[in-house]
């Protein structure tokens, strides 16, 4: 990776969009790259639109705020697209040519014709992943959806090492040092209560990440007439 990669994560409050960005950015800096991470949300509440942005580059990054021209877009919940719970309309606004979109949904969503056409023109690659299902089945809690999304990202792009990702996951949940808002702290407590030990939380989420990386499916634009079938294979970035 020799150039800047800008990632936009859109989801709903409580899904861990901010935490996912934090873990990814920390991993990138652990790998020796430059990274900045920032969130964007309104008055904090669950299920409200929430976005976070990760910039990764071999050089110092100055630009701040929302990522308006992303290389990768991660959609943590179908509502972001179907209900417009998003800070940009359409959800892929600003996506760079050849960019990637990773969507958390069990089956491909019915995107409208104009959007599909525009995405095809951009030569965009669309990927689906049942992140919430993987989180529930492997991690034992929907609260690991963000980890499944990071796993999906690992499956479609070569951004950070698994080693650095695991280390930053450990750092985020094991120390008492992390500063979170009241709501995030409460969710942290719920997540930790699901496991006997933090080590177990890290292990399970590592498994979620690995399984998710292998569960990404690429959407085939040509098959949209037949109802948007997906290419039934694991893809690599």
């Amino acid at each position: 990776m020799n150039k800047k990669i800008y990632i936009r994560m859109s989801g709903l409050g409580g899904q861990g969009v901010v935490t996912a960005a934090h873990i990814l950015g920390t991993a990138a800096t652990r790998d020796g790259k430059e990274s900045t991470v920032n969130p964007f949300f309104g008055a904090e509440k669950r299920l409200a639109p929430t976005e976070s942005y990760v910039r990764i580059s071999p050089e110092r990054i100055y630009e701040k705020g929302e990522v308006l021209f992303p290389n990768i877009i991660m959609i943590f919940h179908p509502d972001v697209i179907t209900l417009g719970k998003c800070y940009t309309m359409p959800f892929f606004a600003g996506l760079q040519p050849g960019g990637k979109v990773l969507i958390n949904a069990d089956t491909p969503l019915e995107l409208n014709g104009d959007d599909l056409e525009e995405l095809a023109q951009l030569n965009a690659q669309i990927f689906y992943i049942p992140a919430t299902r993987i989180a529930s089945e492997i991690g034992g809690t929907e609260l690991s959806t963000n980890m499944a999304m990071l796993g999906g990202l690992m499956g479609i792009a070569d951004l950070v090492s698994y080693e650095a990702l695991t280390e930053s996951l450990q750092e985020r949940f094991s120390g008492g040092k992390f500063v979170a808002s009241g709501t995030t702290a409460a969710l942290d407590d719920i997540l930790k209560s699901k496991y006997e030990k933090v080590a177990q939380l890290v292990e399970k989420n590592k498994e979620v990440i690995e399984k998710a990386a292998a569960a990404v499916k690429r959407y085939d634009f040509n098959s949209q007439a037949e109802g948007g079938r997906e290419i039934n294979s694991v893809c690599c970035g």
Partner: protein
């Protein structure tokens, strides 16, 4: 209390071995206060500042500060901070946006009472309509309160400026408050690399006898003015005293220039300053401009950047000199009023070349492409 070694400010600022951290702007505030030998901090929550003072509360619990509590509202907090400072202790607080406006009267009171308070302003939009997103409009209101105003570009700046603000504010020939302004969310909530001094060293304590005015003396100014204000006596002496006192506060800010040079390396920072097209700005808009200028240079356009670090005192002479040869001056700002553009127009000799904007307000970021298109327009 946690044991820390007192070192000379120069040691804390410059040669001390630094540790690299990947932290938010709010965490950078905590790291600064940890090393600032602060006696007392008073907080009141408002987004996007809440985390900063929450974290200062955390280090109070760890034993880095002598006293910390939450006030009733911003007006009460700023008033309590004034009391603490008059009592002769080093004090810190922070607010932002509507909080700044709610406390507004007290900032002039701080300056008038020659109190060396350091306050963080995590700027945000001001009602109405209600927003919690970044916007620097409150800085327009603060320009003439008499306080020194520094504007941090990023978390590293924020860390440095807070620590240095105490040293500058407490010089006998200055001894007025310093506001360290930083764009909310863009800096406070953004995680970035920050280099900090070791945590086991700190600034020397505040010496209340460095004050140019008597500490808590009811018979002398400035406390005397509050106990027994000049305004109660309509005679020549009271008017003259009031007028000369205000000039003295302005003069104190002027005398801060040499310390801003010493500790911050100047009131401005310039990059490719000989360019035909100069982008002059402060805060996050400077970061956005750096990206735009890098892109402009790649496209063969001759553009440079002047980042203003000190808004009060304003770098009038520096700007006059820097803009003399420029063909166009672009002023990107995160507010609708364009207060920085007005400030610049007042000092640039041929101010027809100062072009206001781009301006972004209401909470969105400023795409570097927007500044780049302005540079392209000027290059035609």
């Amino acid at each position: 209390m946690i044991q820390q070694k007192v070192v000379e400010p120069e040691h804390l600022f410059f040669p001390a071995e630094r540790e690299k951290m990947f932290i938010t702007g709010s965490e950078a505030v905590k790291e600064a206060i940890k090393r600032a030998n602060v006696d007392m901090a008073i907080s009141y929550p408002i987004t996007p500042q809440s985390e900063s003072m929450h974290l200062v509360g955390d280090i109070y619990a760890e034993g880095y500060l002598r006293e910390y509590f939450r006030g009733e509202n911003e007006f009460a907090v700023m008033s309590a901070v004034a009391g603490a400072s008059m009592g002769g202790v080093r004090v810190f607080t922070a607010t932002g946006g509507p909080g700044t406006l709610r406390a507004f009267e007290i900032f002039s009171t701080w300056a008038g009472a020659r109190l060396p308070i350091v306050c963080g302003f995590m700027t945000r939009g001001v009602n109405s309509p209600l927003t919690i997103q970044p916007d620097t409009i409150e800085m327009a209101f603060m320009l003439d309160t008499g306080i020194i105003m520094l504007h941090a570009e990023n978390a590293q700046d924020l860390y440095e400026m807070i620590l240095k603000a105490f040293v500058i504010a407490e010089k006998t020939d200055v001894h007025i408050p310093v506001g360290v302004f930083v764009d909310g969310f863009f800096v406070t909530h953004t995680r970035d690399k920050v280099e900090v001094a070791p945590p086991d060293i700190k600034l020397p304590p505040y010496d209340p006898y460095s004050a140019p005015v008597p500490v808590m003396d009811m018979e002398n100014v400035p406390v005397r003015q509050m106990r027994d204000p000049f305004v109660m006596k309509s005679n020549f002496i009271s008017y003259a005293a009031h007028a000369s006192w205000q000039q003295e506060v302005l003069a104190a800010a002027e005398r801060a220039r040499k310390y801003i040079y010493k500790y911050l390396g100047g009131l401005v920072e310039a990059e490719n300053a000989d360019a035909d097209i100069l982008v002059i700005t402060s805060g996050t808009a400077a970061s956005q401009s750096r990206e735009a200028i890098a892109q402009a240079r790649q496209a063969g356009l001759n553009a440079g950047l002047v980042k203003i670090k000190s808004i009060r005192p304003f770098p009038a002479e520096e700007i006059k000199e820097l803009t003399r040869k420029a063909k166009a001056v672009i002023v990107p700002e995160f507010n609708r009023a364009g207060w920085l553009c007005r400030e610049l127009k007042a000092v640039v000799e041929d101010n027809t070349k100062v072009l206001g904007g781009p301006r972004v307000f209401g909470g969105m970021t400023m795409p570097p492409e927007l500044i780049l298109s302005e540079i392209r327009r000027c290059a035609k």
